[in-house]
Symmetry: C2
Subunit: 231 residues, 2 copies
């Protein structure tokens, strides 16, 4: 692995997107609810919430198992299309989370490497990435680029590789237990954020080294996770 | 206090509505987000989620404090109107939660007294009450009927009085920490449900004697909370 100068100062950051950098979880939840109802499946909304952030295919399988229903691949594909369409209708409500832009700018200006790794598809993620003002040099790894999305470690391992670092030198920042499980499987340090609507204990049990409210609090306490700010 | 025959067999039940009997929390969350944005206030959605179930006036004050903004009474009233309007647009998506109708029917047919006590306004609650098939004899206490909604104990105390019981003989069933705080202040036993999207530990810390996934699980384990079913 290449040793970058910045690694002398501390870790690189691998960010989840939905619920971590942008406030989109609740819109995804209601979009999945709509998609499921469109194909005749009723499921309580909180169960959908707790699956957001995992691979879309895995999410559909997990939700269907809870309803005891068996559906064929065509229905799974239709569900994913309906979700994407329903989410796009709500996407203009989606905003960056407090502190997200400031945190990313601070990392960039302090030469701390960072990347984004999301279980979402590239076409769904792109509009919200624009609201964050991500520089073109930053690696963005989406679901389309790996075989398995979260909670498999592939997204974070690929993002680390694009930064030229080993995942063991990375801090994974995410709002869901799927991020934290994927972080453990990638042998990275996991940081949980409450901004996706999980409870603190859920994230701690899933292996979070620290849990912060949101990126704004993480930025204020960035020294706690090993970044020596030049500021 | 009048002693009803059923009290010999166990407690009466005082139910919260949103997130407990009907799957409406996420729609309320996005309706508040819309209302806040309509008056120029941006707030992360998870912070709204964690305030659902408390009195609407208290919720607005709490949310505004988090944003550091000061608004006058007219804006607070406008926020509540906008929330009600935005929620009504989503209300046709709202369904009873799994097991809710069956649990209520089982209590009724076993002569276990029960009531509903909600921080919501009567006009907002009425459409979802219809989906539950609540018998006309069941007391429904809404925000309009008490001075202070949750986490004050007034709603549960009023519901207990309408059943002719003391709240200390009641089990309060709710999905939020505000239900559980109000239950403690009413000296009732609190039962938490995950169906409103809180984490288990949040409800336990707030004083839940037991936490179940939803009313379906509560019905399967109803003997754990002191009901001796004739079935």
């Amino acid at each position: 692995m290449a040793q970058q100068p910045s690694q002398a100062h501390g870790p690189a950051f691998l960010f989840d997107l939905d619920g971590t950098l942008v406030d989109s979880v609740y819109q995804h939840v209601l979009a999945w609810r709509q998609a499921l109802e469109d194909v005749g499946i009723e499921l309580a909304v909180w169960r959908i919430h707790r699956r957001i952030g995992m691979s879309g295919g895995l999410l559909v399988n997990a939700l269907l198992r809870e309803t005891g229903q068996v559906v064929d691949a065509a229905v799974v594909a239709r569900l994913q299309e309906r979700h994407a369409a329903a989410y796009m209708e709500l996407a203009d409500q989606v905003r960056p989370l407090p502190g997200a832009r400031e945190l990313l700018e601070t990392l960039t200006s302090n030469d701390v490497p960072w990347a984004i790794a999301t279980s979402g598809r590239g076409d769904v993620a792109r509009p919200v990435l624009e609201t964050l003002g991500v520089p073109p040099s930053v690696p963005i790894v989406t679901r389309d680029e790996v075989r398995y999305a979260k909670p498999d470690p592939d997204l974070f391992l690929t993002a680390a590789a694009r930064l030229g670092i080993d995942a063991t030198n990375a801090v994974v920042v995410g709002d869901s237990v799927w991020d934290l499980l994927a972080a453990q499987r990638a042998r990275a340090i996991g940081i949980g954020l409450l901004s996706g609507g999980y409870g603190r204990a859920e994230l701690e049990v899933a292996g979070a080294y620290q849990v912060y409210e949101d990126t704004a609090e993480l930025l204020r306490r960035i020294d706690e996770v090993g970044v020596r700010r030049a500021i």
